[in-house]
Symmetry: C2
Subunit: 150 residues, 2 copies
């Protein structure tokens, strides 16, 4: 089984969007509509991208994706690598592909001299939580996560 990770570009953008829609289904959220797909294209593969998007392949078949971006810790005064999405198709889970993707993220964070990697996970997503705990990630129990919708 050959696992590879490639940046999203014009050629593989349709595969990327198909996987974003699969994650929406898995998380029981509304998938991106046509206007959102257009914005995602601009925001991920234009000359001034807002996100970094990657596809994971098994033997040339795209079966997972990641959306990453850079945030910051003011107290460390260092960048943080933030995981917006990480997803693998159901039939390709439990094959250590997620570990390969997470190791890729850790390597990127080190190369960029980040102090931390951060992300959020849905409370009911037990397999993901088990995976993060196995990777020695820390649940930030003393913090509350807030949102204001514009």
């Amino acid at each position: 089984m050959k696992i590879t990770i490639k940046k999203v570009d014009k050629t593989n953008f349709p595969s990327f969007i198909a996987l974003v829609k699969e994650l929406a289904k898995y998380e029981k959220l509304a998938p991106p509509d046509n206007a959102a797909v257009k914005r995602l294209k601009k925001d991920s593969i234009s000359s001034r991208p807002k996100i970094e998007s990657y596809l994971a392949y098994v033997n040339e078949k795209p079966i997972g994706y990641m959306i990453l971006l850079m945030t910051y810790s003011s107290f460390l005064a260092k960048s943080t690598l933030y995981i917006e999405d990480i997803f693998i198709l159901k039939e390709y889970r439990q094959k250590r592909i997620g570990q390969k993707m997470f190791d890729f993220i850790k390597k990127l964070a080190k190369q960029r001299k980040c102090g931390r990697i951060e992300w959020t996970v849905l409370k009911w997503n037990k397999p993901a939580i088990k995976f993060y705990n196995k990777n020695k990630a820390e649940l930030m129990k003393e913090w509350l996560f807030y949102r204001l919708t514009i």
Copy 2:
């Protein structure tokens, strides 16, 4: 009482750092050391800043600060305005300065066509939580916040 908000620049950078150290004290966290202050300067006021830093003044005296950055929602396919820090000196609280700062952030988010504003708050920080609830912010109860330290 004249409240103004200005971007952090070379001139007011020392006032900014003094306030960052006050927040560290309030949150019972280690304040930035000399190397961290140097990085904060580069990351906030260089030609390629990683964060947007603002000072709040009362009658020309700097009494609060904000550190903001842009993140992203893949499902909305829109930018999110992320609040890394928002802080006001103790003796200037309860004077609606925080509301002015929060309104400034909301205006920025609208101008930039963001879908959301997001942030985290320490569980014991009851005055801040009360303020966010009053501002109709939503506690994202179904999400867990994770961190891996590099």
